[in-house]
């Protein structure tokens, strides 16, 4: 375990582009704090984002994990390019010849994924905690630890996404094409959903089927947080809309995504095992 982590760490730490991307990623995660500084001062209208309640516990957990997840593409690029480069430099072949098993190779990559997700979660936790302590209207311990499942959902969401990226990097072996395919996949899910809604027979419920698509399932883990804001709810009420639906983490979604993690892991191993190098 430690050996596999060290192997992956040697590969990663020597790579300048990866270091820069990881650095940029962490800076961007921190930059969520900068939202606090946004204030409009237009004559009589004074608007300070930090005072709209987005940094209130426990809402801040939801808001920050939702926003923070946007930046995961930076680490995805690192994972895809590190994996694809193993093929283009044929270093995977050398690794195996040197005595790494295919299973160990896959595990070293998955350890990297878990470390990436873990560090991101820790980072979001720290940034949110500090912001919350500064700006939140409620600072009782019981309220602070409420809704912490969003952090768990965030961890699972990142892990599954990186697992998907690792699978694509292994399957396609070219980082640019793998990332392109990721975009295409996202579009395909949308198209399939549209087709299902439009043409599917009555006994198929498009929403239910769509819920099982991998990227959609990952995005369902943390629903959008905006409709929870009182300002947004007030506005919606005024224009006659009533916002319904849950904004919490659904355990069914967690299960679906965990199953996808397992599928990506197994498919990647199958590819590694079957392919001649």
């Amino acid at each position: 375990m430690k050996r596999l982590f060290l192997i992956e760490f040697e590969k990663l730490s020597a790579n300048r582009s990866s270091r820069i991307l990881i650095g940029a990623y962490l800076i961007l995660l921190t930059s969520i704090a900068l939202v606090a500084a946004i204030r409009f001062d237009i004559g009589p209208v004074k608007f300070h984002i930090a005072e709209q309640g987005i940094f209130n516990f426990p809402y801040i957990w939801h808001f920050n994990t939702f926003i923070g997840a946007w930046f995961k593409i930076f680490l995805a690029v690192v994972i895809v390019s590190m994996t694809a480069n193993e093929y283009s430099n044929k270093t995977i072949k050398q690794n195996l010849i040197d005595g790494l098993s295919k299973r160990e190779f896959l595990h070293s990559k998955w350890i990297l994924i878990l470390v990436f997700s873990g560090i991101s979660t820790l980072f979001i936790f720290s940034v949110s905690l500090i912001l919350g302590i500064i700006y939140s209207d409620y600072n009782e311990f019981s309220i602070i630890i409420k809704d912490l499942e969003f952090l768990f959902a965030y961890f699972i969401k990142l892990t599954a996404f990186f697992g998907f990226c690792l699978f694509l990097g292994t399957a396609i072996k070219r980082s640019a094409f793998a990332l392109g395919f990721l975009g295409i996949w996202q579009a395909l899910e949308g198209i399939c959903y549209g087709m299902l809604k439009w043409k599917s027979p009555a006994w198929i419920d498009a929403e239910t089927v769509f819920r099982f698509f991998p990227l959609n399932a990952m995005s369902n883990l943390i629903p959008e947080p905006f409709s929870r804001l009182s300002a947004v709810r007030t506005l919606a009420n005024q224009i006659g809309e009533n916002i319904t639906g849950s904004n919490q983490v659904q355990w069914l979604d967690v299960c679906i995504v965990l199953v996808w993690c397992f599928i990506f892991y197994s498919l990647t191993y199958r590819l590694l095992k079957r392919r001649d190098l």
Binding site: K11, A14, N15, N95, L96, I97, G99, L100, S101, L277
Partner: protein
């Protein structure tokens, strides 16, 4: 002598093509083996299979008597396959450190091995800045990190300039002299002839010969002769019962004996007949010629 590798009926098919066809051989400790064959004869595929990167279609192999899994066994094998594969953005020292972590050996040997292959001064330069010769030498260094039981080399001098070939060959000689078992795949026969004690000859994936080099090259050789009286020389040689066949190669005459014949005896016989020789040399067929004969016989 303990057995390092046993290969049993190993076969690899790529679709219709049978790249390696029911190969069986074994490698004993302390010997230097050559794997011979023209391009595309299945040498690299064979090595790929025993090194865990190509999945065999059928057949089996076992390292060190089959007491450990292949990837565990490979930690005690040093292998250099075709082109050196390292992380281009890492320095020589970083690349070797990674290999040490994979092979689970201590990091202390890195400097020593780099000195052995003459890369110590450049150890902190990135791999991508190296010339092909230096890359190949780094590959050798990496293969030696774990004091391997066996060193596997696949065309180690391919694409190198004469100087690079000489350097790599020197290193191989040094290693062979230490008693390390070596399996050397090559189509350069003089390379194999110089270092190997045993050879495995492959053609189109089939095993043509497996055994000692000496048995392959055992013949009575031939003589090159020149004399002042050309016609008399040919006539006398044709009369000689010890000579099976006489060929003319320009001004030089080639005589093939049918039994072991010493140069001195031949010279004596001819001088007794009044022939004055201007040139006499005993020659042996090179491995290259043997190899061509062997592969041609197979085709015919």
């Amino acid at each position: 002598m303990s057995t390092i590798l046993t290969v049993n009926e190993l076969t690899k098919k790529f679709g219709q093509l049978t790249a390696v066809n029911r190969l069986s051989f074994s490698i004993k400790k302390g010997l230097v083996y050559g794997l011979l064959g023209p391009n595309g004869s299945g040498k690299s595929t064979t090595l790929g299979m025993i090194l865990n990167v190509v999945n065999p279609t059928s057949g089996s192999f076992s390292w060190f008597g089959g007491t450990q899994s292949t990837h565990q066994a490979l930690k005690h094998v040093g292998a250099i396959i075709e082109r050196p594969n390292f992380y281009p953005y890492m320095t020589a020292a970083q690349n070797l450190r990674l290999v040490c972590r994979i092979k689970e050996v201590s990091l202390d040997k890195i400097d020593d091995t780099l000195k052995l292959v003459g890369l110590y001064e450049r150890k902190n330069d990135k791999f991508k800045t190296y010339s092909l010769g230096m890359k190949q030498r780094l590959a050798i260094a990496s293969a030696l990190l774990n004091e391997p039981e066996i060193l596997i080399l696949d065309e180690p001098t391919n694409g190198l300039d004469p100087q690079g070939i000489a350097q790599v060959r020197d290193i191989i000689f040094k290693i062979a002299a230490q008693g390390t078992t070596i399996l050397l795949a090559s189509h350069l026969l003089d390379e194999v002839e110089k270092v190997c004690s045993d050879v495995l000859v492959l053609q189109e994936g089939k095993q043509l010969y497996f055994g000692p080099v000496s048995a392959l090259t055992t013949d009575y050789g031939y003589f090159e002769l020149c004399a002042t009286d050309h016609a008399l020389l040919i006539a006398s040689l044709k009369e000689d019962s010890a000579i099976e066949r006489v060929e003319e190669n320009g001004t030089i005459i080639l005589a093939y004996p049918n039994k072991s014949l010493k140069t001195a005896d031949l010279s004596k016989t001819l001088s007794e007949k009044g022939i004055v020789l201007t040139h006499l040399a005993q020659k042996h067929k090179s491995l290259e010629e043997q190899f061509l004969t062997l592969t041609q016989n197979e085709k015919a």
